[in-house]
């Protein structure tokens, strides 16, 4: 099997798995229409990637938190490298092979699994060879350093966006300049022109998309909260994969209406809501179903995720499309983890805890993630000051050998007992 065929077979596996999940969920009596739409979006995303070569499309691979709006506006096919890699690993069970391939390239185990595996996936041909590799330093050293090796593995050109650390007018302008340079680079490499009108339309929809997430968040403040614990990943993916895309708007509108109906009926995501939780960072992907089961069993539900769903203030202006894409980079929830960890960043978790009436917080401490784990003590102290207990769970977001269901279940059970005693 050639590496192109292998890549295609893995993408097909993602599509098959999404179809299967969609059909299974639709068979449930209280299936959400929005959930089916979400999986259909994933199917469409990966089908477009699967057929890209055949259709003569230009494939732009990019890392997480990259302004994919620009790729869509140039009518290219985006490939979110981390999401594609780890969905492949999740649905084909090839996590250890992908990580081993990263190690074979000489990447040390200290490099987080999401990025060690990324290089491994390209080397194995799990991911289709892109026409260009695009990446930035949002949100850590791993993203900043991942692109050059991938360029070499794939023998393709690449562009690195240097995202400034702090938020000032000067730095935003620098980011706009970086994006302009990338557009020139893409025009040169692809022979396509940026469609500025299309970018404006995307920005207008992205503005609506953010507003919709904010409206969904408002609904999640209800007691009982209407959205299930792991549902927030749908909100995250809708930005990662479909920024400013019509299907994302349609999905979010539907979800919002479903949640509004549930709130009106006083219907919660869990049958007996006992604990309202703040989720700090990402739970292990392979334990999602288990964590959802625990959530139902204990009546414990995630109501807010400050670094994944809690967007910063501001609106996007379609008449200034590039400036707006840069502005959005500063509004994304994860940005609070990138800039200086000052009062503004710390106050946001306090605000979240208060607004969403949080009983406790769960900190998923990914063993490979340096810039998040370094905040465990800081966040714990900040939340403890307002009487919110924090459970820290050591884990790995993608490697199933790092954490077992049993271990995680025991720790969560103890934490819920502690919350109960309060």
């Amino acid at each position: 099997m050639t590496s192109a065929e292998q890549g295609n077979s893995k993408i097909k596996a993602i599509i098959r798995a999404c179809r299967l999940i969609m059909r299974m969920n639709q068979a449930l009596p209280e299936a959400r229409k929005s959930e089916a739409m979400y999986y259909q979006m994933l199917i469409n995303y990966f089908t477009r990637l699967l057929n890209a070569r055949e259709n003569g499309d230009f494939v732009a691979a990019h890392t997480v938190f990259f302004p994919a709006e620009l790729i869509y506006a140039m009518d290219m096919v985006p490939m979110h490298a981390e999401t594609t890699t780890w969905m492949t690993a999740l649905f084909t069970g090839e996590c250890s092979d992908i990580l081993a391939a990263g190690a074979e390239l000489g990447l040390a185990y200290e490099i987080c699994t999401p990025h060690r595996g990324l290089a491994g996936a390209f080397a194995l041909g799990v991911l289709p060879r892109p026409d260009v590799m695009l990446w930035s330093n949002m949100v850590c050293d791993n993203t900043a350093k991942s692109g050059e090796l991938i360029m070499e593995i794939c023998n393709c050109p690449g562009f690195f966006i240097d995202h400034p650390f702090k938020d000032s007018e000067y730095e935003r302008n620098y980011l706009v300049g970086e994006m302009e340079d990338m557009v020139h680079f893409l025009e040169e490499k692809s022979g396509r022109k940026m469609d500025w009108d299309k970018l404006s339309e995307i920005v207008a929809r992205m503005d609506r998309q953010i507003e919709l997430v904010r409206e969904v968040n408002e609904l999640r403040k209800a007691v009982p909260t209407p959205f299930h614990s792991q549902g927030f990943l749908e909100l995250v993916s809708s930005d990662y994969l479909f920024p400013g895309q019509p299907e994302a708007i349609e999905y979010l509108e539907t979800l919002k209406q479903e949640l509004a109906d549930a709130v009106k009926e006083g219907k919660g995501a869990v049958s007996n809501e006992r604990f309202r939780l703040m989720t700090l960072f990402l739970p292990p992907m392979h334990l999602m179903a288990f964590l959802e089961k625990i959530s139902q069993e204990y009546g414990a539900v995630s109501v807010v995720e400050p670094f994944f769903t809690y967007w910063g203030e501001g609106r996007l202006d379609p008449t200034k499309p590039l400036e707006s894409v840069a502005k959005k980079s500063y509004m994304i929830p994860e940005m609070r983890m990138y800039g200086p960890m000052d009062e503004r960043a710390l106050n946001s978790i306090v605000d979240c805890a208060k607004q969403y009436k949080v009983d406790g917080a769960i900190y998923y401490a990914d063993v490979g993630c340096r810039h998040t784990c370094a905040t465990i003590k800081l966040f714990k102290d900040t939340l403890n000051n307002i009487d919110v207990p924090v459970l820290t769970l050591d884990c790995d977001v993608v490697d199933p050998t790092a954490t077992s269901e049993e271990e995680m279940g025991d720790k969560l059970e103890q934490f819920f007992e502690l919350l109960e005693d309060r």
């Binding site: 400034p164 063993v367 370094a374």
Partner: protein, 390 residues
């Protein structure tokens, strides 16, 4: 032959003065004297912090490091978590223990995850009066230079507001001259190591550099001049089994280098941020619009850290040094969780291999003296280099 051969080498007395400074780290006599005179001492966290600006404000800038040896990191681990590099944790450990209680300010940069989080925790848990963190671009483009200049200017303004007086161009000129003199002298020290039988070892050079971070440059330069004269007159020479270049993460423990040299590896050059990358390039006033612009341009253009893009800029500089110093092999020592360097290693090893230069990659912790497993691996590497030469 396991050890460096030293042919009737005479003792270098000036080295003892530098060693004395290092033995009292972090509260060195020079630093305490500066404080006694009512002057301020600032700590900087990374080589992208422009020292000249602090110096021009009559501040003694010192480098924040951990002890140059393995240390208990109980508090550092509790606050920074074990997956941050042991250098950051060592610095924080000393800060939390009050060892840096004499500091009037801390200056950092957005250089790597470890450095920026160290700064965050320092600001939150250690009561140093002044804090400033600079955005440091990862590119060398003119736009990146303009952004960094803006950042450096903001830092100067913040400092002036804190101190209540202006930092003049005249003062900046004097500081540039002083720091350039240091760089020139350190380059002269380095040039001795290009000789087939260098008169000074890598470990001794590290002792000089360690002192340079914790004493006024005015005095350091005088002492270094004396050392250079002493070396010239000494006729000392060191030979070994192979000429080695040391690359990778921050390193301040001379014992680590000594452990290589004891086995016959002659450490003749490096690309460490505590050595070559520290004194690397001078501030060039010619062609600059102002001394501040010259400073900002130098700090961004200096021999790069692995954080910078494109990485080939760093790789090419390493190869140039390796060829210039006629090295037989490269030892890469990367502190665990020093991610930028971990990421670069596969590409850099490939580039070095293309030049016929083998690389030994060592995973280390900050402050390690290089004993045990490291010695075994270094020994095998030196044997391989010897065999290759034959």
């Amino acid at each position: 032959m396991a050890d460096n051969t030293q042919r009737n080498n005479i003792k270098l007395h000036t080295l003892d003065r530098f060693r004395e400074i290092n033995s009292t780290f972090p509260k060195t006599s020079q630093l305490l004297e500066h404080k006694r005179r009512g002057k301020k001492v600032f700590g900087w966290l990374c080589t992208y912090s422009p020292e000249e600006i602090m110096h021009a404000a009559d501040i003694l800038p010192i480098r924040i490091t951990g002890y140059s040896q393995e240390t208990e990191l109980d508090e550092g681990n509790a606050y920074l978590y074990v997956n941050n590099c042991s250098f950051s944790r060592s610095c924080l450990q000393l800060g939390l223990k009050g060892e840096y209680g004499f500091l009037d300010g801390v200056v950092g940069g957005s250089t790597c995850d470890g450095a920026r989080r160290l700064f965050d925790l320092w600001r939150n848990y250690i009561g140093t009066p002044f804090h400033h963190v600079l955005t440091v671009p990862r590119k060398y483009t003119e736009k990146a230079h303009a952004l960094y200049y803006h950042e450096v200017a903001q830092f100067k303004k913040h400092l002036e507001d804190f101190l209540g007086f202006e930092i003049t161009d005249e003062a900046l000129h004097k500081s540039i001259e002083l720091y350039n003199e240091s760089r020139k002298l350190l380059r002269e020290l380095s040039d001795f190591r290009k000789l087939d039988s260098p008169p000074i070892t890598g470990a001794e050079t590290m002792e000089v550099l360690n002192a340079s971070f914790h004493m006024p440059k005015e005095i350091f330069n005088q002492w270094l001049k004396s050392l250079l004269e002493e070396i010239s007159a000494s006729g000392n020479s060191h030979t070994g089994r192979a000429r080695i270049m040391l690359i990778g993460s921050v390193l301040t423990n001379p014992e680590f280098i000594k452990s290589i040299e004891k086995q016959g590896g002659l450490v003749v050059t490096d690309e460490l941020c505590t050595s070559t990358r520290y004194w690397g390039d001078p501030v060039l006033l010619e062609g600059a619009k102002s001394p501040l612009e010259a400073i900002s341009r130098r700090y961004l253009n200096n021999f790069p850290c692995a954080r910078m893009f494109p990485s080939d800029e760093r790789f090419n500089r390493i190869i140039d040094f390796a060829l210039d110093f006629k090295v037989d092999g490269v030892i890469s020592q990367i502190i665990r969780y020093c991610v930028p360097y971990c990421h670069d290693l596969p590409l850099l090893t490939k580039r070095l291999k293309a030049q016929g230069i083998p690389t030994l990659a060592l995973d280390v912790e900050y402050g390690t003296p290089g004993s045990g497993q490291i010695q075994t691996r270094v020994q095998a590497f030196l044997e391989m280099l010897e065999a290759k030469r034959k």
